[in-house]
């Protein structure tokens, strides 16, 4: 454990904001994903229909 824990500074807060804003602005798409299930357990092979 460090002796002195500094709070996050402005630069770090700005970076957090930038990261979240960038992700959130692109996560939601104008595409119908209603039949798509999230891949929580990811097995690439199951997608291959070839």
């Amino acid at each position: 454990m460090s002796d002195t824990v500094k709070p996050l500074d402005k630069e770090q807060h700005d970076l957090i904001e930038e990261i979240l804003s960038d992700i959130r602005s692109k996560l939601w798409v104008n595409e119908d994903l209603s039949t798509i299930e999230p891949s929580n357990i990811f097995v690439p092979e199951v997608y291959d229909v070839k």
Binding site: T4, Q12, I19, L27, L33, I36, P38, P44, E45
Partner: protein, 451 residues
């Protein structure tokens, strides 16, 4: 025997087998090259006595007719996020609590059992959470082609160790391109296996569902020689439960490639020209296609990476926040703030991407893109410009590679040309899931058009 002529693992293996060289000669030569190239800052730990002892033991086995494999006596460098019983593992971080954990990752154990010489731990981005190898507690690794330039990351030390000829193979790990980015930036070869075919046991995670261990090597044939030690079931990593062991695969012809380009997959003109030039020389059928949601898929990759990394680091971050570099601490704090719904949406996009790639581009054998949209930038450079946009260095490095991780597809990178400034340009092939061997055979076939 001129040791400096043994530039590939296959050549080293053959020379050891024929008795032209000994493991100790090979190892002393590697140690000499590591010293000579110390300015490249490739190694975070290199125990000369330990390495020499391993080489002597290998020579002894060979003398008594008890060699363990055809890589017995070959030095192989290890990224510093693989646990190794004879070296501390720090992930190049001041926050790491793992320095005294004495164990081998499964892949390290496999190589050690085969008699390979475990040759030091290589420089990397702190906890593998970047892509330039500048964010490390020992300072940046430098590109052997031009030391003013980055190696790329996060496995930068491993790529530099191969590109400078210290070793002919090294271990890397890849969550968004961390094997392929430095391999491409340094002009060597790298392979990321299908997710679930290579054991992650003992490799410090960045993002469980995206991480894949793999090799960086001096040639495609070297990758083929070392991949069997990566691929196969490991009871210590349940994601490998269905993994088949490595089987050599013959290449079918003709090869059908889909070249992905367009919005979200931009690259600079010089890189594009070299890649298209390479493709035109091959005998493959090449079709161009775009990927309409490429930028959205990148956001999905980022959401999964940031959230999984933040969960892995949660406890340590609370205990020792100052042990992390300021930028990494901010990244981990950002990951904490993503909601479950957002992460599930990212997982939906991940499924969508796989559905699109497997159904909308015909019966392809491999998808092809440049590995990097630009050549290796200079150390300290903040931005790169390509396709009329200014992009931060880390994002630029990940720009195309993340697709290999979000899909879990096997992926190989191979150098195909040089820029006007002499820096390497590489192509990345993504194979069908579980068809790692076929992908490598295909890369070898396509590579014939360069040689």
């Amino acid at each position: 025997m001129m040791l400096n002529k043994l530039t590939t693992l296959c050549e080293q293996s053959k020379a050891l087998d024929s008795g032209e060289i000994t493991a100790i000669e090979l190892t002393l030569n590697a140690l000499g090259l590591a010293d000579k190239n110390s300015h490249l800052n490739m190694f975070v730990a290199l125990d000369k006595e330990n390495v020499i002892a391993q080489a002597k033991a290998s020579d002894q086995r060979r003398k008594s007719g008890q060699i363990l494999s055809d890589i017995d006596g070959v030095p192989i460098a290890i990224k510093d996020n693989y646990l190794t019983k004879d070296y501390a593992t720090t992930a190049c971080s001041n926050a790491s609590p793992l320095e005294n954990l004495a164990a081998d990752a499964t892949i390290v154990a496999n190589l050690r059992s085969a008699g390979a010489i475990i040759f030091g731990k290589t420089n990397m981005d702190e906890w593998a959470f970047s892509a330039t190898n500048e964010s490390t507690n020992i300072g940046p690794a430098r590109n052997p082609i031009n030391p003013k330039h980055i190696t790329g990351g996060s496995s930068g030390g491993s790529a530099a160790a191969v590109a400078s000829g210290v070793v002919t193979a090294a271990l890397g790990s890849d969550t968004g391109g961390s094997i392929r980015i430095p391999a491409a930036a340094c002009g060597v070869y790298g392979f990321k296996p299908t997710y679930g075919r290579a054991s992650r046991h003992g490799v410090l995670p960045l993002s469980w569902s995206l991480d894949s261990p793999g090799p960086i090597a001096s040639s495609l044939e070297d990758l083929a020689k070392i991949l069997p030690y990566f691929i196969g079931k490991d009871e210590k990593d349940l994601t490998t439960a269905q993994a088949k062991s490595y089987q050599i695969s013959a290449q079918k012809k003709p090869i059908k490639l889909v070249h992905l380009a367009g919005e979200g997959l931009e690259r600079n003109e010089e890189v594009d020209k070299i890649v298209r030039g390479f493709l035109s020389k091959t005998s493959a059928d090449v079709e161009d296609a775009c990927l309409p949601l490429a930028k959205n898929y990148y956001a999905a990759w980022a959401a999964i990476t940031f959230s999984e990394a933040s969960l892995y680091h949660k406890e340590l971050l609370e205990q020792n926040p100052m042990g992390y570099a300021p930028v990494l601490r901010a990244k981990l704090e950002a990951g904490m703030q993503l909601s479950a719904v957002e992460v599930l949406q990212a997982q939906k996009l991940r499924s969508h991407l796989m559905t699109v790639l497997m159904n909308q581009y015909g019966d392809w054998d491999a998808l092809v893109l440049p590995t990097l949209p630009v050549v290796a930038p200079e150390i300290g450079q903040q931005w790169v410009e390509f396709a009329e946009q200014k992009t931060d260095l880390t994002t630029a490095m990940l720009w195309l590679c993340f697709l290999g991780n979000l899909t879990g597809l096997p992926t190989v990178t191979l150098p195909v040309g040089k820029s006007d400034t002499g820096l390497p340009v590489s192509v990345m092939l993504l194979g069908r899931p579980g068809k790692d061997e076929a992908l490598l055979s295909m890369a070898m076939e396509l590579n014939k058009s360069i040689v």
